[in-house]
């Protein structure tokens, strides 16, 4: 995955670093990404059902 940089408040990053460790994240980047993804998911639309099913076909563990 390509990456991009984003500017954040330094204090916020310091705080995030501390809590990333408390929460069990491997890095502050992971913490911030996950937080953003969770927020985005609340706003997202449902995916294409047929496409999802097609992709799962043949996954050995499922029927």
């Amino acid at each position: 995955m390509a990456t991009a940089k984003i500017k954040l408040d330094k204090d916020l990053v310091e705080k995030a670093k501390k809590y990333a460790e408390v929460a069990g994240y491997a890095s502050v980047e992971e913490f911030i990404s996950h937080t953003l993804e969770s927020a985005i998911m609340q706003l997202e639309e449902a995916g294409d059902a047929e496409e999802l099913k097609e992709k799962l076909k043949g996954l050995g563990y499922i029927a």
Partner: protein, 701 residues
Amino acid sequence: MKPNFSRLLLALFFILALFPLADRAFAYIGPGAGFAVLSSFFMLFVAFFLAIVNLISWPLRYLWKRARGKNAYKNAKVKRVIILGLDGLDPELTGGFMSQGELPNFKRLREQGHFAPLATTFPSISPVAWSSFQTGTNPGKHNIFDFLTPHWKSYLPELSSALIGNVARVIHFGKYEIPVGKPALKLLRRSVAFWNILADKGIFANILRVPITFPPEKSKALLLSAMCVPDIRGTQGSFTFYSTNQQRGQHTGGTQISVEKKNGAFCSYLPGPPNPMTKAHDQIRLSFKVSRNGKPGQAVLEIDRQKHPLELGKYTDWVKVTFRTGAGGKITGLCRFLLKQLEPEFEMYVTPINIDPEKPALPISTPAYYSTYLAKKMGPFATLGLAEDTWALNERVIDEKDFLQQTWDIHAERERMFFDAIENLDQGLLAIVFDATDRIQHTFIRYLHEDHPANRDREKVLYKDEIRNLYKKCDDLVGRTLEKMGDDTVLMVMSDHGFKPFKRGVNLNRWLYDNGYLVLQKDGNGGEWFEGVEWSQTKAYALGLAGIFINRKGREGKGIVAPEEAVRLKNEIAEKLETLRDPERAENAINKVYDSATVMNGPYVKNAPDLIVGYKPGYRASWASVTGTVMEDLFTDNTKAWGGDHCMDPKTVPGIFFCNKKIREGDLTIMDIAPTVLDLFGQKIPSYMDGKVMAMSIDEK
């Protein structure tokens, strides 16, 4: 041709001498040879240039690292670590065969070093366990809980480990659609693989086919992806079956295509990937023809402008097939053909079309050219995540013999890769996972259990020793590894889980429905993928192999259960399920139901199934339950060839752990391997890791 070569050269010079023309013209030797000289010169030039640059810069780089105090191996306790993963090798079976004197090399390891069960993850499924292996963390920190994860909005399943998206932008051009950039690909396993910690510190790491490594992450390690690499159609592996007999119908995990007989030849097509260049994304097809060649049991396949001999019951070698997208685009794949029958009906099986490692349509290694290197050095090999076609066996499209052939061929490819990698391991880490153990136990363990429902109306004798053979072959592999690996190497042989028979399926969705936790829009009408489920009244549902999800407010699109109620609901369901009896066998089907909030911790626990169902060995989620089907009997016999499993109470299916070094004490878990390897290379253990460093006796250097 060989012995005559010098004579031919002589003849060439003789002919040259016969042409006494002084003209420069005859320095010219034609495009063929001209090319040969040019490309050979070019290749040598590149090779020597690279080699010289690397060799000259090596001492400088070495000194530079030294000067900066960056000797990566300074604190290393060993030179090399080799992790030989044998997916699903079972401690009980291993111990049993060992005591029968069948596994001398495992025995040697146990005597000289250590053998113990290796606790697996909650739930005990390969993608989960291997993710914990990679990261040294419990699933709550790596976010992989099953093969599937529900898409919270639609309740439809998604692949839990990889996001394979569409390209962000396309240019429209008539009926064509030209993709700009690459499709979004993202590994959804979180936390950090321990080999990336090593590689970032400058320690060599070579990772071959460890599950949940697709798409490959940016890394300084050499890595070849495994589980969840799709086939060329974008599925997790779908076979194609051809028949002139229309009666055989449809199959799970594959497509049946009818064949036409034209002028004595059988004509059909091989379905390829959807065309990324057209708006409709219509499937690209490659037509082929199979004609008899007059010899009994033989035929010739013509596909993609190549001819391949076919023989009844024998796989072809890997056949490279090229699908053209138009406008010069190409997608190449690898598949094998197996002619099953010529008379009275024509029947042919084709393996899923693997991504060609030489020119991968999607990245399957880091660096991207690593798979090209492997393919050019060793020849073509299977790249599909779940490469062994268990569904074709389940669907009786191929038989046991065909399946074993396919599985052992793939195993042989990987063995060659493994021993070549050992040869190139000066220092650092080499980790590899073999899958034959998992696939063969899934499909052959029924032979060890006379009363297995899958044995009904099936042959029960012919492959009775297949599991024993499998363990013996693993033992042989261990033996050769010990021989090849050299001194100052720590060898760990391990598995992610064990194996037990899967005789009876439990449909959890049916149970939830019967007990009022899952509500249907119309009673008695609940099809696959939760068709007909009334979500606004449903409190819990089961998807995948691991367990039960509570339909939570704020998480699921139509969630109704508030957090406080969820706690109570979990306890209630768990309590009831733990007393669930299978009337036919007059026994409890479930050992224990685990609350994921207690068996996991970390930022992703809220994505996990709320309850992990610890089935008693012999039981598992039924096939229909896994795919969200409600209307099925609560208990069903599992009559598929896939008669062994491990998605049960994790405490009953630990993996194995062998090491050539003594380990002093303690219960071992799969999460311990990552910190242990970091420690062996003298690296600090990150605080987020849940595993403990094993108390290994390393001879002081």
